[in-house]
């Protein structure tokens, strides 16, 4: 590694004034912002800066001369120069066309190209803006109208299409940031989170729901109301239904894009009265065939 004196091109006996003069001369020639296209200039400039940071400070120079710190001991953290930002969106207001405005006036190919590029820049499309929206499960199946409040206070009406899936992104054309000039506005991208519903479980396009039934409904059959995302539906319980019996409600699942819908499956769950009904206990105690029936026979053990 070169010594900081070599980097600046001065003698180790140079005065503070000479060191500053030498550094300024180098820096004027090498500053990255004065050499936007020269990668090598940055490296050399950094070395010169580091050298000057060391030698320009009497205390650090003394310690360096005394061997207390080495040449890199004073190196500054990685700096980002203006040129790193200069062609980004953030620096746009600073940019000037003055350097080539005259080239745009002719009717040659270059002028046409430059004008076209400026046109494109002036009529840039607006940026897309992202939002997140939480939707209850029932509304994700049945569809809904939601209203989002935007950071600037405006409102955005969002139509939730029926059958929406968790994590799906809705695109509202033209509802994003405005474009520049004649540029079209960007889109609003709304990522939808479906909030779980304790009653329903979705599997693909089908919906599963568990419905408690009484013993008499299970034994004798009857009509019950089963919940679906679009409201309760009357379902016939066949005689002698068991816990775990599944009934299919055709077309009551999630709507499928392009037509049709999944099914809803109702799983019955027989629930005995609580506390136990004495009459039922008395009946079961005297029910000899019930006691003889073992549902576990034949099952793998």
């Amino acid at each position: 590694m070169k010594s900081p004196y070599e980097t600046l091109g001065v003698a180790s006996t140079a005065s503070a004034g000479d060191i500053q003069k030498a550094y300024r001369k180098l820096a004027k020639a090498l500053h990255p912002d004065l050499n936007p296209g020269d990668k090598g200039a940055e490296e050399t400039f950094k070395e010169a800066s580091a050298a000057y940071a060391l030698l320009g400070d009497p205390e650090k120079r003394r310690r360096f001369d005394a061997g207390e710190i080495d040449a890199s001991g004073a190196e500054r953290p990685q700096q980002r120069y203006y040129r790193d930002y200069a062609t980004q969106e953030d620096a746009r207001p600073y940019e000037s066309e003055a350097g080539y405005a005259d080239f745009m006036e002719g009717d040659d190919a270059l002028a046409a190209l430059l004008r076209r590029a400026r046109q494109a820049r002036a009529n840039r499309r607006g940026e897309d803006v992202r939002y997140r929206l939480a939707v209850p499960f029932v509304e994700s199946i049945a569809g809904a109208e939601k209203r989002l409040t935007m950071p600037d206070g405006g409102v955005l009406d969002v139509k939730i299409p029926p059958g929406l899936v968790d994590g799906q992104t809705l695109r509202l054309k033209g509802k994003g940031a405005p474009g520049a000039g004649a540029g079209a506005p960007g889109d609003a991208l709304i990522e939808v989170e479906v909030l779980p519903d304790p009653r329903f479980r979705r599997e693909g396009d089908d919906i599963h729901v568990e419905v408690p039934v009484s013993l008499s409904e299970a034994v004798l059959g009857g009509w019950i109301d089963a919940p679906t995302p679009t409201g309760p539906v009357s379902v016939a319980i066949p005689k002698g239904s068991n816990s775990g019996s599944r009934l299919r409600l055709k077309g009551k699942g999630a709507p499928i894009r392009g037509g049709g819908a999944g099914d809803e499956y109702v799983t019955l769950k027989v629930v005995l009265p609580k506390p136990a009904d004495p009459e039922l206990v008395a009946f079961v105690e005297g029910w000899a065939r019930g006691k003889a029936y073992n549902p576990r026979t034949g099952a793998a053990s």
Binding site: R24, R80, T87, D90, A117
Partner: protein, 88 residues
């Protein structure tokens, strides 16, 4: 979205300039934040450059004005050149 913005106070802290210095820069339009209290990283890098030109290179006010004007032209040209290169 462009990178986040910082307040005037954060900005001063990070570029190491004093309030009245920043006022001068703003009055000269050397620094032009999008919002009065919303400075970008580009504004900060630009402020650092102005600071270096003044402090380390000994450029005076008129010199800064000329340099920034030229730098802005160079970057305008670089963008135009970049766009021409990207054009079919």
């Amino acid at each position: 979205m462009t990178s986040g913005t910082m307040t005037r106070q954060e900005f001063l802290l990070r570029c190491g300039a004093r309030g009245e210095t920043l006022e001068l820069w703003l009055a000269q339009s050397w620094i032009a934040p999008r919002e009065p209290d919303g400075f970008s990283e580009a504004d900060l890098a630009r402020a650092r450059l102005i600071g270096e030109l003044t402090r380390d290179l000994g450029v005076n006010e008129a010199g800064i004005d000329v340099i920034l004007h030229l730098i802005d032209q160079v970057h305008g040209l670089r963008r135009a050149l970049g766009e021409l290169r990207a054009a079919p």
